[in-house]
Amino acid sequence: MLDVHARVERGALTLDVALRVPPGAVLAVMGPNGSGKSTLLEAVAGLVPLTAGHVRLGDEVLADAAAGHHRPPARRGLGVALQDGALFGHLSARENVAFGPRAQGVRAAAARAAADALLADVGLAEHARTRADRLSGGQARRVAVARAVAARPRALLLDEPFAALDAGTRHGVHGVVRRAVAAGVPALLVTHDLRDALELADALLVLEAGRAVQQGTPAEVAAAPATAYVRRVAAAG
C-alpha cells in the first residue's frame, strides 16, 4: 500500500492531498495545468520536501514531516518517470534504461539484457544504441517509462508518460506498465488524457488548485463530472 498525505507549498501553489494506492493498483491523477499533479509526484519521490504529512510504502515510512523524517530519493526504491523524460542526453537509450540497475550494482551484461527487453516492449528495439538527446519527444517518454520500470521499483510514479504517443505505441507502453503493476507494485499515473485513466487505472483522483475535487473509478468520474474541468475532459475522452 502506498499511503500519502502531502502538503507542499511551492510558489503560489499549496498542495494538500491524501491518497492510498493498494499493491497492484493504478491511481490516475488528472487536473488542469498548475493544479499540482507534478508537484504531488515529486513530493512522493522525495524531490520536494513535505511541509506537512507523510509518505508510507508498505510498513516503511519514507517521509514524515512531523517527525522531521525525509528519506533521500535515492533510497526510496521507487521507479520515477519525470515529465518530458529527463533522460541522460549523453547516454544511449539502452544505457538510460540500464542506469537504475547499474547504479544499484547489477552487473553490466544483465542490466543491458533487461534494458534491451524493455526497449523492445516499448517498440524501441532499433533505437537501443541511439543517443538519448537524438530521440523524439515521444520516444524519450517511452524510454523514461522503460527506465523507471527497469529499476525494479516498489512503487511506480509516472508523469505524463503517454503524451505525444500514437494509439499503437501507447498500447505497447500500457502493456509495460500493466506488467510491472501486476507484480504487486502500486502506481501513480499523472495524465491529461481520460482514455489512459479508463484503460489503465483502478481509481482516478482529480486535482484542482492543489486539492482533490473528485475521486472514484475512472468510469464513475467520467459519468458524473463534478467540475467544469472534468466535464471538459470527459467530453474530449
Binding site: A45, A86, L87, F99, A103, Q104, T130, L135, R147
Partner: protein, 277 residues
C-alpha cells in the same frame, strides 16, 4: 518606386554589407598567406629564436589553461547558482577582463605584484621573490585575460546540464558520487573542453598584458606574439613565418573543437535515420 524594387534594392544592400564584413575578416588572412615565403618556411620556423618563443608560448599557455581550469571550473559552478547571494556582482567582476584593454590588465598586475605594488612589496620583503618580468608573470597575464572565456563557457554548460537530470538519477537509486560521475560531469565535459580550448588560444595570443607586466626577454617572457612584433622591425619575413605558425595553431584548435561538436562522443552510435517516425 515599386515595393518589389525597394525590396530588391535593400536585399542587395544587405548582401553588400555582409560581403564587406567578410572582406574585413578574410582579406587580411589572404594577404598574410600571399606574403608567406612558403619555400623558406621550414628554415624560418626552424630558427632557434623562433623555436624558443614557440616553446615558451606553448608552455605558458598550457600552464595558464591548467590554472584556469583549476580555479575556473569551481568559479563557474558558483556563478551557475543564481540563488547564492552576490552572484550577479561576481559575474560582472569576472567579465571585466573581457572588455578591459589587455595593456590595462598588465598595468594593474604590475601595480599589484610589482616591487612597490600592493602585494609585491611584501612578497619581496618576505621571500625575496619578484614576479614581474618572469615566466610566472607571463602565465599570470595569460590567466588574467583568458580565464573569463573558460568561466563563461563552463557556466553555460553547467546551466545546460539541467538539475532535473540529476534528480532523475537520484530517483533511480544513484548515490551522489555516481550521479556526479555518470550524469553531471559527462554532460558538462564538452563545455569544459570548449572553454579550455578558447582559453588556450586566447592565452597563446596574449600580447598587451604580457609585454607590460612581463616584458620581452628572449627565453623567459618573449612569447610568439611578442617575438612577431619584435621581428617586424628587424626580420619581416620571420614575422610572417611566425604569424602563419600561430594561424595554423589557432586553426588546429578550431578544427578540433568542430570535430568535438559534430562527431559527438565515441561509441554512442550514429544519428538515427530520422527523428519523426
Amino acid at each position: 518606386m515599386s515595393g518589389r524594387t525597394a525590396g530588391r534594392l535593400s536585399s542587395w544592400a544587405l548582401v553588400l554589407a555582409a560581403g564587406a564584413g567578410v572582406a574585413v575578416l578574410v582579406l587580411p588572412i589572404v594577404a598574410l598567406l600571399l606574403a608567406t615565403p612558403w619555400g623558406d618556411l621550414p628554415a624560418l620556423v626552424g630558427d632557434p629564436a623562433v623555436l624558443q618563443a614557440l616553446r615558451l608560448s606553448l608552455g605558458t599557455a598550457t600552464v595558464a589553461t591548467t590554472v584556469s581550469l583549476l580555479v575556473g571550473v569551481p568559479l563557474a559552478w558558483v556563478l551557475a547558482h543564481d540563488d547564492l547571494r552576490g552572484v550577479r556582482l561576481l559575474r560582472a567582476l569576472v567579465t571585466v577582463p573581457l572588455v578591459l584593454p589587455p595593456v590595462v590588465g598588465g598595468v594593474a598586475l604590475l601595480l599589484l605584484l610589482g616591487r612597490r605594488g600592493l602585494l609585491g612589496g611584501t612578497l619581496h620583503a618576505w621571500t625575496g621573490l619578484s614576479v614581474p618580468f618572469t615566466s610566472v608573470a607571463v602565465v599570470l597575464a595569460q590567466v588574467f585575460v583568458s580565464l573569463p572565456f573558460l568561466v563563461l563557457a563552463v557556466e553555460g554548460a553547467l546551466r545546460g546540464a539541467d538539475r532535473r537530470r540529476a534528480l532523475a538519477a537520484q530517483t533511480l537509486g544513484a548515490s551522489p558520487g555516481y550521479v556526479l560521475r555518470r550524469v553531471t560531469l559527462p554532460a558538462v565535459a564538452p563545455g569544459v573542453a570548449a572553454g579550455a580550448a578558447l582559453c588556450f588560444t586566447r592565452a597563446l595570443g596574449e600580447f598587451g598584458a604580457t609585454v607590460t607586466f612581463a616584458g620581452s626577454f628572449p627565453g623567459t617572457t618573449r612569447t610568439m606574439p611578442l617575438a612577431v612584433y619584435q621581428a617586424m622591425d628587424t626580420a619581416p619575413e620571420q614575422a610572417v613565418a611566425m604569424s602563419v605558425l600561430l594561424l595554423a595553431l589557432s586553426m588546429t584548435v578550431l578544427v578540433a573543437l568542430r570535430g568535438r561538436w559534430l562527431g559527438g562522443l565515441p561509441g554512442t552510435g550514429g544519428r538515427p535515420a530520422g527523428r519523426a517516425r
